[in-house]
């Protein structure tokens, strides 16, 4: 019996979990076998469910990454595609979502805490410890100087209006909730997110 396997059908079989090497042994090698490297792209990858970070349709995405879970081995994201199970997006992505991998890998991604000192023209890498320390001291200095506990009529107002905070509308609810606690604990009022624009 001869079975004609098109290249496309062969990928489907592969995706269905059949060991491709034994397929070849059984004589089912597809035509153009030399180009059959691509179907293996996602084997041995980890599939992670995620939601597109751009607009608020909230399309489901599947992120494929490589690397085992060893302590010192980093996962490398190699592919992102639409999640076919998602009831809104059903596997589709738009021109923005289709480029998500390039967003993750953008050369503009920031890697280290940095500071631009007053009057200078460059970034200087600093440690997280230094960044935290310096920013915390700015917060405390400004707050201690400008916190208003009572207004001119003697009313308790406990507000701090000389430092403001713009929150990120692409961050998670958990980050947003924590940000609200952070901002409120300090008495900050100049507080907004992208919903305002």
């Amino acid at each position: 019996m001869t079975i004609q396997v098109t290249r496309r059908g062969f990928f489907k079989l592969g995706a269905a979990g059949l060991a491709t090497s034994s397929m070849a042994m059984m004589g089912f090698a597809p035509e153009a076998a030399a180009s059959s490297i691509r179907p293996f792209k996602l084997t041995h990858t980890k599939e992670t469910r995620n939601i597109c970070t751009y607009c608020s349709v909230g399309c489901g995405v599947l992120i494929y990454s490589r690397g085992d879970e060893a302590k010192n081995a980093h996962q490398q994201i190699i592919h992102i595609e639409g999640d076919p199970d998602h009831p809104v997006s059903r596997g589709a992505l738009c021109p923005k979502g289709a480029g998500l991998l390039d967003y993750v890998k953008s050369p503009s991604r920031l890697k280290f805490p940095e500071v631009r000192e007053p009057g200078t023209n460059e970034w200087k890498r600093i440690s997280w410890e230094e960044a935290n320390e310096r920013i915390a001291r700015h917060i405390k200095a400004d707050r201690d100087e400008n916190f208003v506990a009572t207004d001119s009529e003697g009313r308790t107002v406990n507000r701090w209006t000389t430092t403001g905070f713009l929150a990120a509308s692409a961050s998670s609810n958990e980050a947003g909730y924590l940000t609200h606690k952070f901002v409120t604990s300090l008495g900050m009022l100049a507080f907004d997110n992208q919903a305002r624009v």
Binding site: V57, V88, S108, L110, R137, T156, T184
Partner: protein, 816 residues
């Protein structure tokens, strides 16, 4: 969205106005296509540009930017005059029959009791007439001239088709075609859905445009029904979530308004939020505000929050003005009144109007902290980028920190989509270099600040030292810990009518379990139910649709209480049976004696129809509000006013003799910004900003694929203007407003046509926003160089959609 993405497929008529879903929300827009294909839906598009949404519409009508209230106000007049309203719905489920205070009036463009000095109204009479019990008087014949219905009709009396046409520049026959199509859904078995986005919000009248749309839907009986509703197609992936969590200057969480300085004690604060019913027996769910608030304070301040100290109410900052919004903040910053600023995933140099003012203001800061996965123009506002950012770094003394955050792909947690679905996502990899999660960045910063206050003291340290921060690693709170916290838990055993409903330490099942006695903690009452004893509901992935109408209740979790279509009790008649089989959604099961159906009822589940409770359970009236009472700055009924910068010499054509009502009489305009408004003589063209399908704000210019497909800044002008100015496709143009200029390639199209306003031709100019001086795409000008520094009078959302520019052929040599 009152409804949700998949539900769009159930609509019979779809009006896209103030948005361009095909390009801005392409995957969600597939449900519009589905409705056209399988539900025989008519797609109507009203927009200044012939967008890609318009290109697949059954009908397109052009409109001058910023005149939507005239268009929709005229529609309201038309629906009433031709009696094309869903009469039973309007009578029972809206406030149409309620009588308004005799002191309420409107004349020549202004409501009574306007104060020109403060640009605001005394709202005392913007209320219903009430009886001695405080319940609104009503007239079910709708004949009383003081009933909302009659006042509404009188308010829009001048909005005739001819008047609407001369204001909007839309030909009368096109106006009528759109109105007639929408009116066809006044029958109980047909619905219109309204889809809008920033094209409605980014106006000095944005909130009132959306209100007018809501009023149209109430008159047509389209709210609470399948394929109906008023649907905001929101922007960022979690802009809905951050709104729900109240990350705004005047909000606590879950839409509890933040306290103001007049509210000195807890009882005054809560009384203003309890909202007693205005009709007998109504649910008025805000009556439970005490339980929501006390549970929030228990989540935030833990054991410190006690009844005897008003649950730490004094610790909350009190507002001395309605809003510390972004415009107010940059106004104060420009005067040197702000010293520090945090930009977490936010690029205000590009996102706030009048870039020159924003840049000048940032330079007055002592410190600026940018927390972002990407480099931003704001973080580098001090960098000289030639014509694109012409500053001198040596003169800028601001200390700028740039902290690397993880992206979505490396972070775990939930985001809320436009349909109010909380969807959980997982991390696929670690981030680049030393990038950290936003939660860890803030966790570490908070614990450091707290250490400094604990050690050295300082200004009122109590709320910092007293903030509940009981995470296993205080500098690295986990997503699960935080999600469990905003859901809420029982601090001690919780009883309802003597029955134990929740044991100490258990996660709450929903906001119905919240208590005002300190026995429950919940960081955001509307999110209660998202992480219960049954686990993380936001990670649910059952996409079954048992009724075949797109209601996948097992997919993710929707606030409130997993309800997918808000006000869904309105999908049934007074007697609890569906208006029609085609639109059935929830109904009263007289055997089980409970509401049931294809959605979680947005209603007390055992409230029998005979009890007379109405569907709009958050409103004290129990019904939808055609009359906004004291809720809006400009008045209880929407009125057309011109944009701050208007191309119409006569001003407001509705009230041509009254210069006070040329533009929104309640708009807040700072003195220096008023001087920076241009006139039609100097800047004759009506401009609007917009987004392209290939780009997302100012992010995707950093993304290789998107930088390839849409590499270079352009502006769009119509052929008529091109001919007039001798500009052809590909020429360079200089577009200027009173606030600055940009240079870009001209795209000369048939998509933006000149429009006739009164007897004058007005050309419109389209300005896509996506370029800047950083990234992989070609350098360009930040489009907010041009835009006016004024916002909506209620929300202060900037007027990015309507302003004036001049266009000239650029002779300075094109690309730099």
């Amino acid at each position: 969205m009152t409804n949700h993405w998949v539900d769009i497929r159930n609509a019979d008529v779809i009006l896209v106005m103030g948005g361009n879903a095909a390009e801005a929300h392409p995957v969600g827009f597939r449900w519009v296509t589905e409705a056209k294909e399988h539900n025989n839906a008519q797609l109507m598009v009203v927009d200044p540009r012939f967008t890609r949404t318009a290109s697949v519409a059954d009908f397109y009508a052009p409109i001058r930017t910023g005149t939507d209230i005239a268009f929709l106000g005229g529609l309201i007049r038309y629906l009433i005059d031709t009696d094309q309203i869903q009469r039973e719905y309007v009578l029972n489920y809206t406030d149409a029959a309620l009588l308004v205070d005799e002191g309420f009036g409107f004349e020549d463009g202004l409501f009574d009791n306007y104060d020109a000095e403060s640009r605001s109204y005394d709202k005392e009479h913007w209320v219903y007439q009430t009886d001695e019990d405080g319940f609104a008087l009503r007239d079910d014949t709708l004949e009383n001239p003081r009933c909302v219905y009659r006042l509404l009709r009188a308010h829009f009396d001048a909005y005739t088709p001819d008047m609407v046409s001369s204001i909007c520049g839309t030909p009368v026959d096109k106006i009528m075609r759109v109105w007639e199509t929408l009116a066809s859904t006044a029958t109980p078995d047909r619905t219109t859905t309204l889809l809008y986005a920033l094209g409605w919000t980014q106006h000095s009248l944005g909130s009132q445009i959306i209100r007018t749309a809501g009023m149209v839907q109430l008159l047509l009986g389209n709210i609470g029904l399948r394929g109906g509703g008023v649907n905001a197609l929101r922007g960022h992936s979690n802009i809905q979530g951050l709104t729900d969590l109240g990350l705004l200057s005047n909000q606590l969480t879950g839409y509890i308004a933040a306290p103001v300085d007049d509210e000195q004690d807890l009882d005054t604060f809560l009384t203003a939020r309890r909202r007693a019913p205005l009709q007998p027996g109504q649910v008025s769910y805000w009556q439970n505000a005490d339980a929501f608030f006390v549970s929030l304070m228990k989540a935030w301040y833990g054991d410190n929050a006690r009844a005897h100290n008003q649950w730490c109410y004094d610790w909350l900052p009190k507002l001395d003005k309605p809003l510390y919004d972004i415009l107010d903040t940059f106004e104060r910053m420009s005067k040197g009144e702000i010293y520090g600023y945090f930009c977490q995933g936010f690029n205000p140099l590009a996102a706030i109007p009048n870039k020159a003012k924003v840049s000048r203001s940032l330079a007055k800061l002592r410190y600026l902290v940018s927390i972002d996965p990407l480099n931003t123009e704001t973080a580098e506002f001090w960098r000289n980028a030639g014509e694109y950012n012409d500053v001198d770094p040596s003169e800028i003394q601001t200390e700028v920190f740039r902290l690397p955050a993880l992206s979505f792909a490396e972070d775990e947690g939930s985001t809320v989509n436009s349909a109010r679905w909380l969807q959980w996502h997982y991390a696929a990899a670690s981030g680049p270099g030393e990038a950290r999660a936003d939660t860890h960045i803030l966790g570490a910063l908070f614990t450091r600040v707290r250490e400094l206050y604990a050690r050295d003291g300082g200004a009122f340290p109590d709320p910092i030292l007293g903030m509940a921060w009981n995470y296993k690693q205080p500098d690295e709170p986990s997503p699960e810990e935080l999600a469990r916290e905003y859901n809420g838990r029982a601090i001690s055993d919780v009883y309802l009518d003597g029955q134990l409903v929740r044991r100490m330490g258990e996660q709450l099942a929903g906001f119905g379990e919240l208590r005002d006695d300190g026995s429950t903690a919940s960081g955001c009452w509307i999110f209660a139910g998202s992480w219960t004893e049954a686990g993380n509901q936001m990670a649910n992935r059952d996409n079954a649709d048992p009724y075949g109408i797109g209601q996948t209740l097992g997919w993710a979790w929707s606030w409130p209480a997993n309800r997918r279509i808000l006000y869904n009790r309105a999908s049934a008649k007074l007697d609890g049976t569906p208006w029609s089989e085609r639109k059935s959604l929830v109904w009263w099961d007289s055997v089980q004696r409970r509401w049931t159906g294809a959605d979680i009822p947005d209603f007390p589940v055992d409230s029998a129809p005979t009890r007379g409770q109405m569907p709009f359970i958050m409103n004290p009236e129990g019904v939808g509000k055609l009359f906004a009472s004291q809720g809006m700055a400009e008045g209880p009924f929407p009125t057309h006013y011109e944009p701050l910068e208007s191309p119409v010499p006569e001003g407001n054509l509705l009230f041509p003799r009254n210069d006070k009502v040329r533009y929104n009489p309640a708009a807040r305009v700072f003195a220096q910004d008023l001087e920076m408004m241009g006139t039609w003589e100097e800047y004759p063209y009506a401009a609007t900003t917009y987004r392209l399908t290939e780009h997302f704000h100012y992010w995707t210019k950093h993304v290789h694929l998107n930088a390839i497909v849409q590499p270079e800044q352009f502006v769009e002008i119509g052929e008529a203007l091109g001919n007039e100015l001798g500009i052809k496709e590909g020429d360079w143009v200089r577009v200027s407003s009173k606030r600055g200029y940009i240079r870009a390639v001209a795209v000369v199209t048939k998509r933006i046509k000149a429009i006739t306003v009164g007897d004058r031709i007005v050309h419109q100019v389209g300005i896509p926003i996506h370029w800047g001086f950083l990234g992989l795409a070609r350098k360009g000008f930040l489009a907010n160089t041009l835009t006016p520094f004024v916002g909506d009078a209620n929300t202060q959302t900037p007027e990015f959609k309507s302003f004036l520019v001049n266009v000239e052929k650029d002779t300075s040599g094109g690309r730099t």
